[in-house]
Symmetry: C2
Subunit: 235 residues, 2 copies
DNA sequence: TAGCTTACTGTGGTCAGACCACACAAATCC
DNA sequence: GGATTTGTGTGGTCTGACCACAGTAAGCTA
């Protein structure tokens, strides 16, 4: 497979334009027919390249005309990572447990770092996290709504690291195992008890961060994640 | 963009077969024409799905006949992550510095964990890492060969975590910024001095792990990574 | 019968062309 | 001026033709 495929040539040209600043997030690629003519290839090859760019979270396509039509350049790095994780989980190459472990790594590091910054008298805005936990206290929350807010809370924790790559990886891991988590939660017998415990643990994590206790925050989030997955049998 | 694309339908069908165990790593997808007929779609749509699977590190395609022809199912989760990072770096959405930071997170955690296990009297095989550092001592090593061995060493450090997801992410980050690192190293004036220092730092990291000093190992790898990127101006 | 050569088959790769639905903008009509 | 129609460029999908390739099977020769 040493020969370069035509669609890969197309991708290389597009990458050049990105690196040169001719293309950027919020802009649009020229139409498929124009690219095909410009690069001297068939439209099918252009389309293949476009599909890869979609999978990479780089573009979003739409038919029609006007500003939303065509291939708009976007920035969603978590999506391809999530997709890759999902595929490799499906093929059984990646164990779910390793994703759990990687989550522990990221979130414990993130909350510890945030707590340390609090301890160093730095201002950290925890209001979004607090608001989310308040929303999670709604009494008639369905399991899936609970899980969605739970995921959001954990993404906020990861974002405390202030590192887009780490946040993207974290978001991707949540999305990649979403189906497993949803199925497992559906099988939990006493969901109310579990949800109440999760809520309490969330509060504990956030309190440790707000108090600048990095070690406590790290231990709390580790126990929280491991406990959830142990109880639900995921990983 | 609510309508599902035909190629996405094809992907969904293939994912089902993976989850059902009908397909697996080392096996082969049926030919494009067969899939097109089976799923009732055009071959072009099948090809688009195949391109996405290639980008996801799930398959490798080859023309011809025989066991290596067609779409062979592989397991390379790092490749799509690396590709995604590369694309999002090119679009300037992800800062290189965040990849550096994420590397610090992963490697410091990994070496600390390994050192702690050594301290707990667990056997860890550090011979591959040692052999690599020996290879890096070759006097006539070119910059690019040095960097390749350097990357391998760091992947070994990440693999000490014993977590495939973490290793894949780490490998992906190395690959995703490879071009930036190579260009920066080409610009280093006193490469011999830098290479000698890097070699020494590698030895220090490995010694701390072997001695079970988790804190030292973590600090050493953090200083090593940050120092390299500061000196080369990457991130 | 064994070894070499040729033909066949299925594979992915690429191209060209036709047609569709769509979304917006411009032109036309009332 | 507002409503309707037309035009245009967009991506989406399909069909069919042809190519190069890699292995296997069949045929031929010593």
């Amino acid at each position: 497979m040493a020969a370069t495929r035509t669609y890969q040539l197309v991708l290389a040209r597009i990458e050049e334009d990105l690196l040169a600043g001719k293309l950027g997030v919020g802009g649009r690629l020229p139409g498929e027919r124009i690219l095909a003519e410009r690069y001297g290839v068939s439209r099918a090859s252009v389309r293949e390249a476009i599909k890869v760019l979609e999978a990479m979270g780089m573009i979003r396509t739409a038919v029609g005309s006007g500003p939303e039509a065509g291939a708009v350049i976007i920035a969603e790095p978590a999506a391809p990572i999530a997709m890759a994780l999902r595929w490799h989980l499906a093929s059984r190459h990646l164990p779910v447990g390793d994703i759990v472990g990687a989550r522990v790594l990221i979130e414990s590091w993130s909350v510890a770092g945030a707590a340390d910054r609090v301890a160093g008298a730095e201002e950290i805005d925890l209001r979004p996290a607090t608001a989310l936990l308040d929303a999670m206290d709604a009494p008639e929350l369905s399991r899936s709504d609970f899980l969605a807010l739970d995921a959001d809370f954990h993404v906020i924790l990861a974002e405390l690291a202030g590192n887009i790559v780490v946040s993207a990886v974290m978001t991707a891991m949540r999305q990649g195992i979403h189906a497993y988590v949803t199925a497992a939660v559906d099988r939990v017998a006493d969901w109310e008890e579990m949800a109440a415990r999760l809520r309490g643990e969330h509060r504990g994590i956030l309190a440790a961060v707000a108090a600048g206790r990095g070690g406590d925050a790290s231990l709390a989030v580790t126990a929280h994640i491991n406990g959830f997955y142990t109880d639900t049998g995921v990983g």
